[in-house]
Symmetry: C2
Subunit: 303 residues, 2 copies
């Protein structure tokens, strides 16, 4: 990355933090301490919630949450009651006044957003919101972490199930991993292979497997990205990371097969330097076969 890019990011952080921060204090400052507001927000308009669940989602200390709840209770904004089935657990819900307070915070939040847009003309507003969407999208992409996981790890298994369920819907023939050439994801475990899982805020959102058979070219399997995170460039990132790791294992030729229903995947492979080749296996679910010769480039991530 270049110095100008780093400078731009710093300038952005400064401007946005200052501008949004000042307005945040102005619009939301007088209302309610930040901790209480967060809690109010997390409890939500409807239904009751376990205190432990709320606490876990906000990542706060048990004593601290307890104190915040007492404060909200004193102001008549929440009602705390023991859980009907487990009286250690306590549940919390908003009262009428609590919902009103939450709506107030909501309105102020809207007012804050509107105050940013207000001085701009229609064209500038379109451009600002488009640029904000882009920043948000790419910052989200940059929080995603990728790591090697055992295919039996719950997060890995979750991805593999989601992958299978999606293909079952998508393929004309349906999809049953047991009928595929990779009935056992154990083949994606060292030393016979590896399995990558991408996570966003701890939740698994994508995966990719690499088969490293002795005496045969390596193969990419089970590349999947969750529907909610598509468009973040995650598939390409997983693919690139697999290529790097394959190269580090001395792999020179990478192969993969795919189904004609997976058009986005096929486009990704083509644009990543894979060329279509004749069928190199008899995978029943495959319509296209690709390969890519790895070069020195793949061994070091291009900066």
């Amino acid at each position: 990355m270049t110095t100008e890019q780093v400078e731009q990011v710093r300038r952005f952080n400064r401007t946005v933090a200052e501008r949004v921060g000042v307005l945040h204090d102005h619009y939301l400052g007088g209302a309610r301490p930040y901790g209480q507001a967060r809690l109010l927000w997390q409890i939500g308009d409807e239904g009751t919630h376990d205190v432990r669940g709320v606490r876990a989602r906000l990542g706060l200390d048990s004593g601290y949450v307890s104190r915040l709840l007492r404060a909200l209770e004193r102001d008549g904004l929440v009602a705390v009651e023991p859980h009907p089935e487990d009286r250690r657990v306590r549940t919390v819900r908003l009262t009428e006044a609590g919902r009103a307070e939450r709506a107030l915070l909501d309105d102020r939040s809207d007012a804050l957003a509107a105050s940013l847009l207000d001085p701009l003309d229609a064209r500038q507003r379109d451009r600002l919101t488009a640029a904000m969407a882009e920043v948000e999208r790419l910052l989200t992409a940059s929080v995603v972490t990728v790591e090697v996981l055992d295919p039996d790890h719950p997060d890995a298994a979750l991805c593999l199930r989601a992958y299978a369920a999606e293909l079952q819907e998508l393929f004309d023939t349906g999809f049953d991993p047991a009928n595929s050439l990779l009935p056992d994801p154990g083949e994606l475990r060292a030393p016979r292979g590896l399995f990558l899982v991408a996570r966003l805020h701890g939740d698994p959102v994508g995966c990719a497997g690499l088969k490293l058979p002795t005496g045969a070219p390596a193969e990419i399997k089970r590349l999947w990205v969750s529907p909610g995170t598509r468009g973040l460039g995650l598939a390409r990132r997983l693919l690139t990371e697999l290529e790097e790791r394959a190269a580090r294992h001395g792999v020179e030729l990478l192969r993969l097969d795919t189904n004609k229903a997976l058009e986005a995947a096929t486009r990704l492979y083509r644009s990543s330097g894979y060329t279509e080749v004749p069928a190199f296996n008899d995978e029943p679910y495959a319509d296209h076969w690709f390969e890519k010769r790895l070069t020195q480039e793949n061994r070091t991530r291009p900066q």
Copy 2:
């Protein structure tokens, strides 16, 4: 503005605040309390600064700043000395250790920025920084305030001097307001006219005048935007605001003249619905004359 736009801005605030906030704590948190860091930053690498100036720029309480300075002094990062000419005032400068500490904060800030870019590929980095630049630009534009000022107000006078100085450089013939058809900016004062000044963080960054002669069409004069804030759409905003105010004064026909050297201004007028007309005055500095018929539209700002 639309609900989707407000929603987008709120989503942006949330995502960006969270993402940047968490990283901010991670990279800059351990180092030094935020208040001290701000002060260290504001004092700057070189030269001495009046304590009152620093305080004014940060908008902090005098007692609080005093305490922060004592803390920094204790750590040997700053040296505080009485002002040579006014011994009530105290001046502050960074010591060697202070400069080192500031450089450290600087490095951590860079590291924070880099950590946002790091997981992205080259194309994503380009897009992210471009979008950030756009957000920053438009947020800056949205902090600019526009208000009516007396042409004799120091901020107005500053703009008018900058305007004249710039034309003096730009025109083949030079520029002396005394030779222009508006020798006295007092004509831009109610009830004979009005004068708008745009400000960014309190500093004047643009102006525009309106002449409202009785029995003759109104005229736009002295439209200027400071070089540092060009590209924010400020000129168009000033022009639109003048049109609205003119319409409220019952003006139906707006006229203006301009010099051929002011190409950006000429483009602005054309794209804002002004049509070129024959010379309607004998302004010595004018090469082009424009007019625009105001309609009902101009009387209410289009949202």
